[in-house]
């Protein structure tokens, strides 16, 4: 187990290196001169040249990358071209709201997805299953921004039950969470359904039934417990993706998180902030994948690490 964890951490570090290279290459992929963006369109060529030199943009690419990496190691993600503030601080301010939103969305997915998964598994291949599965397909297919706007107009504007976008207290979280919950829950429903159907065919379930256990007891104590393992795995990975993937929800609901920061930075071509958000969002995905891999073994004793 220990060796496995060390190996996985080693692999993650290699992936993180890859992410750092991709983030760094963004500097070159964006078709704009960073020195010109900082100096503004009215600056003289001398001023632009001075800024280029100050930033080390005249150095060979590999040297620039090493500088970038050294800065990263020291926790320095650079300074925003537009807002003249340290990128880490700007991202730090946004991490809390994004984590809050991601958690809210995740819980909504589970609250909607798991009961439907159980329901469809118990009524597999019946009309009820088909209706729910069809609805789940609709849910999966609806664009988040469209559903979000629809809910905002209905509950925020017409009925005025919830705030019209923005971030703050719990009441601001409900609509974005429901929006994401509806569009994301179907994955959990389908996963749990197939997992439960798989478990239901196992011998020990037949045994439990033969012993006269009630259907309720069979489902809750025997089927669900075992069937939830892949759901837990997926759930862990999902949180990582959610942290990186709530961009559209943030944009739709004007939620001041990292996704919004990434969007505005792209609009402003604020390269250090784009690089910083890409890097950190990548790191989240890697870390959650790693945590899932490790906890997988802890949750399911059948899994062995060789």
């Amino acid at each position: 187990m220990g060796a496995y964890i060390i190996r996985r951490i080693g692999q993650s570090i290699i992936v993180l290196f890859g992410i750092s290279i991709i983030a760094f290459l963004l500097l070159y992929a964006v078709p704009a001169d960073p020195a010109r963006i900082i100096a503004g369109p009215h600056a003289t060529p001398e001023v632009v040249a001075q800024i280029r030199q100050d930033l080390g943009l005249n150095l060979p690419i590999y040297q620039q990358y090493l500088h970038y990496l050294w800065d990263l190691v020291r926790g320095n993600l650079g300074t925003s071209y537009i807002f003249h503030r340290p990128v880490l601080g700007m991202i730090g301010e946004r991490m809390g709201p994004t984590a809050e939103l991601a958690l809210g969305c995740w819980i909504a997915e589970l609250i909607i997805g798991i009961p439907l998964g159980i329901y469809t598994a118990r009524h597999a291949n019946k009309k009820r299953d088909m209706v729910v599965s069809a609805l789940a397909l609709v849910g999966i297919s609806i664009p988040v921004y469209w559903l979000g706007l629809l809910l905002l107009v209905l509950f925020g504007f017409k009925l005025q039950i919830f705030p019209l976008g923005g971030s703050g207290g719990f009441q601001y979280l409900i609509l974005p969470a429901i929006t994401y919950g509806i569009t994301g829950a179907a994955y959990y429903t389908r996963l749990l359904k197939s997992s439960m159907l798989d478990v239901m065919n196992q011998d020990y379930i037949r045994t439990a039934r033969a012993k006269g256990a009630s259907e309720r007891r069979v489902v809750w104590n025997h089927v669900l417990r075992n069937a939830l393992i892949p759901v837990i795995t997926f759930g862990g990975i999902d949180i990582g993706y959610l942290l990186a993937g709530v961009v559209l929800v943030e944009e739709t609901f004007n939620w001041n998180g990292m996704g919004m920061l990434a969007i505005t930075s792209i609009q402003n071509q604020d390269i250090p902030v784009i690089m910083g958000t890409v890097l950190l969002l990548g790191v989240f995905v890697v870390i959650f994948n790693l945590l899932v891999d490790i906890t997988y073994g802890l949750v399911d004793p059948r899994i062995r690490y060789d």
Partner: protein
């Protein structure tokens, strides 16, 4: 100088270069106050915008909430040069002179009055006595010298002033900028309340440059204490009606400046409002819903970008009587055009557009009325390189400078130019929804006369990079005035010395340069309008621009907001606004 944008491109407004705008012709409308008092929008002054007027007594106190589409990047008046920043900046800082209400009439701000020498080269300002910064420090003439030095400091942090070129005609400014002098020789302060500025050459619009926010009073002891970077973003401090309480990525909060010097005509202390909260809301659909719900006090071009109405809400607001009656309209001093590059060769190949017949064919093949329809009919057509509200606009162009829609004539011109079988030309524009509509319309018009347009729709920054290098054969662009003067349009676009960054068409004509330079720096050129009329007729007959439309700004103001007026020179008049009790937010 300023490159402007259209509806849908508001997202880039905070980094787009935009100056202040000028007064134009207003229209009027009427609104009904929810509290029973009348709130009537009316035309204000001969060249001014519209205003909510009402006879009730202003209410002291209260607060309003607004939405803005982008975070505010710069608040240092030396550095800020975009509309989002300027909207806040105007509430915190004040220059020497400003414009009276919604008119284009100059009036003293921190200067009570000024004199200009007969040779037009020496300006003497009398600084208002007793004005204090919001931290209590007194304002003297030296505060302006200090700020001018900051504008001309090429090493200013976090970045040099984008406006320094406006001030290089001040004697000794170039030497100071180049680091060859420790002070600006043409600026002096005979006493604490007198500021003398000498120019190298007489410049009739110099006073308008001083009405821009760059040369506002700043406090050296405060700037040194907080540092330039913080001064630009979170620790701004000036003499204006409001104090910046906070500026974050999500919200800007302004609170009343208790030390503000100005009072209203009844002797009441300004501003009336205690607090203005501006939420940075990247989603303009939500901005419109907030306003429709009555959560925000007003929407304006300065807050929303473009023409002031979010594109998604235009139809709803303008087709719903209860909303429409709250919308004031006034032409902004910005206009859009299709630029034709005259350079002989581009990217090493001969440029067909260097042939005047090809350019004239494009002029005749262009149907302006179709462009107006693309903008919901909200914009005005324009047929010369300047909005009609700028002094010097030519009412009756020479016949050679006018082009009516005539596809047959266009085809004949192309044939005469040796392109009987048609030709292909590259056009550059931004990748916005509005731009795409316009491009497609233009493409169809040109196809109709035998020109195949190869489109390049790119980000605003990429567009600027390409166009400002002077290598885009055809480019769709726009311009918002920096200061209300024909010089800001005509000299910028057509003077040879502006190639390529501003004169992106590479237009160069010695006679036009002579007229422009005379109007620019010649005290004897008293009739500048005539000189500019000659320029306009000449460049239009040379078919270098296809002017398209002028933007009409929309200000949507709640009926419970009073004292509001529109201006296309200065920004939203928060110092003069009051709200009915019960509408605090």
């Amino acid at each position: 100088m300023s490159m402007s944008w259209k509806k849908g491109l508001a997202t880039v407004s905070s980094v787009a270069m935009i100056g202040v705008l000028l007064a134009g012709c207003g229209t009027s409308n009427t609104g009904n106050s929810s509290s029973g008092s009348s709130n009537t929008a009316s035309t204000n002054g001969s060249s001014g915008g519209t205003s909510t007027s009402d006879n009730s007594k202003p209410v002291e106190g209260g607060s309003i909430t607004l939405d803005i589409t982008q975070a505010v990047p710069d608040l240092d008046p030396a550095v800020a040069f975009d509309t989002n920043s300027a909207e806040i900046e105007q509430q915190v800082y004040e220059p020497l002179v400003t414009y009276k209400g919604s008119t284009d009439q100059l009036t003293g701000d921190l200067a009570t009055d000024w004199t200009v020498s007969t040779d037009g080269k020496t300006y003497t300002f009398h600084i208002r006595n007793g004005v204090k910064f919001s931290n209590g420090d007194p304002v003297t003439a030296k505060n302006f010298v200090y700020q001018l030095q900051r504008i001309l400091d090429k090493n200013l942090q976090p970045k040099p002033s984008p406006g320094y070129t406006f001030f290089l005609n001040i004697t000794g400014a170039q030497a100071y900028y180049d680091g060859k002098a420790k002070s600006i020789s043409g600026v002096s302060t005979p006493d604490d309340y007198t500021l003398v500025i000498k120019l190298d050459k007489p410049q009739q619009y110099f006073i308008k440059i001083l009405a821009m926010p760059f040369l506002s009073a700043t406090d050296p002891s405060f700037v040194n204490k907080v540092g330039n970077a913080a001064f630009d973003t979170t620790k701004s401090m000036g003499t204006g009606p409001f104090i910046l309480q906070s500026n974050s990525q999500s919200q800007v909060v302004l609170v009343k400046n208790p030390n503000y010097w100005q009072k209203d005509s009844q002797g009441n202390q300004l501003p009336y409002l205690d607090k203005v909260t501006i939420n940075i809301n990247n989603n303009s659909q939500l901005d419109a819903l907030h306003w429709e719900q009555g959560k925000t006090a007003f929407m304006s071009p300065w807050l929303m970008g473009g023409d002031g109405l979010p594109a998604s809400a235009y139809a709803t607001i303008m087709n719903t009587p209860k909303y429409k009656q709250l919308v004031m309209q006034q032409p902004e001093n910005s206009f859009f055009y299709i630029g034709l590059n005259m350079k002989k060769t581009l990217d090493g190949k001969p440029n067909p557009l260097s042939n005047i017949k090809v350019r004239q064919a494009i002029e005749y093949g262009f149907d302006r009325s179709q462009y107006v329809k693309l903008e919901n009919g909200a914009d005005k057509p324009v047929n010369e390189p300047m909005p009609d509200s700028i002094e010097g606009f030519v009412k009756n162009l020479d016949p050679s400078a006018q082009y009516s829609f005539d596809p047959n004539k266009a085809k004949q011109l192309l044939k005469d130019a040796g392109y009987a079988n048609g030709l292909t030309l590259d056009m550059w524009n931004r990748d916005t929804e509005t731009a795409k509509k316009e491009d497609q319309a233009f493409q169809a018009m040109m196809k109709n006369i035998g020109i195949n347009i190869n489109l390049h729709e790119v980000t605003f920054k990429d567009f600027l990079t390409k166009a400002m290098s002077g290598t885009a054969p055809i480019y769709f662009s726009g311009w918002n005035q920096d200061y209300p003067d024909a010089s800001d349009f005509l000299n910028t676009f057509f003077n040879t010395n502006q190639i390529p960054e501003n004169n992106m068409s590479n237009y160069s004509d010695p006679q036009v340069d002579q007229w422009l330079n005379a109007a620019e720096f010649d005290a004897s050129a008293s009739d500048r309008d005539n000189l500019y009329a000659k320029v306009i007729n000449k460049v239009m007959s040379d078919a270098v621009f296809v002017p398209t439309t002028e933007t009409v700004g929309h200000w949507s103001v709640q009926s419970w907001v009073h004292g509001f007026y529109t201006s296309n020179i200065t920004y939203d008049p928060m110092a003069y606004i009051w709200v009915d009790p019960g509408h605090n937010s």
